[in-house]
Symmetry: C2
Subunit: 455 residues, 2 copies
């Protein structure tokens, strides 16, 4: 593997003292070998003049399989959103459409500086998500959704308990810790009550045995949270009773976690995946993130799915996370450094990869991103704080170069491993077929030809 | 003036039936002559294949003079933000720094598809903002801030009443309706109580006589709103008592307008400029926009200043406007079409230019923007609603070509009339000088060299 020198950048290290280093960084065997580095040459040299060099951003709650549904479920009531769109479309996925969706999602994320994600797929075809991540060089912790119990509002075809477990175990065996450790498996009970107690207990036992993550949704929506509480107690308490609350648990959303539940989550060292755009768009609410951080919860960020965002853009999520809590908590709440920590260090901790990624330090994997500084929307920058600029000013389109494991996946804004137009064309082709398979062609919600929603 | 054919686009007309037209648009003498057009040629032809053709976006509350302050006032208490940053920096502006700031702001807005803005400058050097807009081809309604009264929290040097009026009248005479009607003047009492009753009465009289807008801040911040209410009544009631409430009034923010005040504003036909990013970042609150729209208020959008946003990006403001009200009002509140109307038609009405701009219809001025559709973050688009895509998915970086009055100001992402690097270099040079003139060099808030905020 050729050595690599990235020189003349302004390096936002995210090391314990949050140092900024104007200088060079040397990469060897996929890891950061020297920072700063006094070297003047290497097998490959990238000039980062006028760039910020930042740790790859880490999203801890994404649905790759929903990228194809982008723009097909806007301004809808949540129940309609699930019943008329998400369930039928997920169930109509075939391997080709899943692969197209995953490739689109991964390409979008990498171009926006996201180098790793923790993703929950649908109940089938999850091998295709691994295949896309493997080929594209993305770092991912991926799981097959588990749903062996039907709940009100869940019209998704239920799985047989043992079949659900068998599918996860097969994927775990095949993909966990593959591609040099770049790909990992996570058990994904879809929501706290989408699986039976029996399956929860098996999941916890297997997850601990195999040392893999558990990734679930909890307390996203007020009505659903209250319904579940009436039928069997609060969700974090339920998770605790199943033995699921631990450092290996990623809880998506947590908007409606009660104070006692937040204390449980903090005590367990579990992660809450804050998804601000999705929580706003589905009107789920505004999670009490400042309180969670004060309580010591590891809060990280995610875009959720393109069906409820509609982008998979970590710059957008950082900006939202910094802004939406201020009206309630004041202008000094959620300062830029806190948010950037959530997007990097907290994400790494969520994935159990805090010794591998999340900051630019010697020995860590070379997952890093070069961000162009010289833009109209970030100027002037001579007196500004680069971290505040990353959170409040920069955009995904400022990302120039992206490395994972020291491999250059995007260089000067262009992908090195895939053909973007092929991904775009395949997305169009596959969504047309998927829409028909889902029986939505006659639904009348979308007018073919103009693309205009009829209203 | 050469004729122009824009062909093969998907035209988002914003006409009364909100038609989408797959076809061509013919521009003659700076106005839309035919839409759709069957012509096959013209003096100039732009191929808009794979593009949306949309009306130029209109921002109704911007401070061009604050673009240079971007990144210098983040995560600050509002009082500190004003006293330690905005007042000292505005007062230290000289003609060169004002010009640099205005050029930077206008270039950023045009590249993001904003073709018109209603702007409030500082108390001096406003001629330089007109000069920048004139040279760059931007459509702008610009005013010199008026502040002849000191209020708690306002440390800005007060102006003499007659001098303030004289300055505005001189600028009005020199610039209003200049550049073929592209540049207009607006009286800008900085806030409802920043000017004396006497000056308000003169402003209203002169504004009505000259048929120009009045642009002011009101009910932005809860504490200030309550303070003002205690000392002399609610702000909209005060504006009414001064005779200022009318169709020619643009009220920035209006976050804390009481229900009775909203009724007054609606009845008068005045505009509220909703500035979601700025209201979040300064923790001002979330304006009751759905209620204002229901009451019939003309709500339009603005980015406010780069010191409290930190971008001047209408795509970001549209997305925020669509998202931030949903947690309170439900997922169907603020649908994409409503938000896009605010960004176009409502903006035109705010400026009194509803017969000239805001939609793509025959006879209107050719202020229009081509937006690239074939992107990873908007794919797949074959079944999507382009208006929802504009609000939830597209970014400023998707803007390819921008016309104002039929003049091509940006073509394929590149400016035709100015050198971008010159604008960027001048911004860096001018902010260094301004920072010193403002006496902030020793303030210690920003560490030179790394640009790192010390904390």
């Amino acid at each position: 593997m050729p050595s690599l020198l990235i020189r003349n950048g302004l390096i936002v290290t995210q090391n314990p003292s949050r140092e900024l280093i104007a200088g060079s960084l040397y990469v060897c065997e996929g890891r950061i070998a020297e920072i700063p580095s006094a070297r003047t040459g290497a097998d490959q040299v990238i000039d980062a003049s006028g760039m910020l060099v930042i740790p790859g951003l880490i999203q801890v709650h994404v649905h790759l399989c929903q990228a194809l549904f982008r723009g097909l479920a806007d301004d809808m009531n949540v129940v309609d959103w699930l019943r008329q769109r998400i369930w039928p479309l997920e169930q109509a996925h075939d391997p080709d459409s899943l692969y197209a969706s995953a490739r689109l999602a991964i390409a979008e994320m990498l171009h926006g500086g996201t180098t790793s994600a923790c993703t929950m797929e649908t109940v089938r075809h999850t091998a295709m998500a691994f295949r896309a991540a493997e080929e594209m060089g993305f770092r991912a912790t991926i799981g097959n959704a588990m749903m062996d119990r039907r709940e009100a509002g869940t019209e998704m075809v239920g799985q047989d308990t043992q079949a659900a477990m068998a599918e996860s175990l097969a994927l775990l065996g095949r993909f966990h810790d593959s591609a040099g450790g770049r790909l990992r498996y996570a058990f994904c009970p879809r929501g706290t009550r989408n699986i039976t107690d029996s399956l929860w207990r098996q999941v916890v036992e297997e997850a601990r045995r195999s040392q893999v993550l558990i990734h679930t949704h909890a307390a996203e929506n007020q009505a659903q949270t209250e319904l579940l509480a009436r039928s069997g107690g609060r969700e974090a308490e339920y998770l605790q009773s199943m033995g699921a609350l631990g450092q290996d648990l990623v809880i998506a959303h947590g908007v409606w976690l009660a104070p006692e539940e937040r204390a449980l989550v903090a005590q367990a060292g579990a992660t809450v995946a804050h998804c601000p755009s999705a929580n706003l768009k589905l009107a789920s609410g505004v999670a009490l993130i400042p309180e969670m951080l004060d309580a010591g919860i590891n809060v990280a960020l995610g875009a959720d799915g393109a069906a409820c965002n509609n982008n998979l853009d970590m710059f957008t999520e950082m900006r939202h996370a910094a802004l939406i809590h201020k009206p309630r908590c004041g202008p000094r709440a959620m300062p830029a450094q806190t948010v950037f920590d959530m997007a990097t260090l907290h994400g790494a901790r969520a994935l159990g990869l805090e010794r591998e990624i999340g900051s630019l330090e010697a020995g860590k994997r070379a997952d890093l991103v070069l961000v162009r500084r010289n833009t109209l929307h970030t100027a002037p920058s001579c007196l500004a704080d680069p971290v505040a600029q990353l959170v409040y000013e920069h955009r995904a389109s400022d990302v120039e170069t992206v490395l994972v494991d020291g491999q250059i996946l995007i260089r000067d804004g262009r992908p090195t491993r895939w053909n973007e137009q092929e991904i775009l064309d395949d997305a169009e082709k596959q969504i047309r077929r998927l829409w028909e398979r889902a029986g939505l062609a006659g639904a009348g919600a979308v007018a073919e030809g103009t693309g205009r929603t009829e209203r």
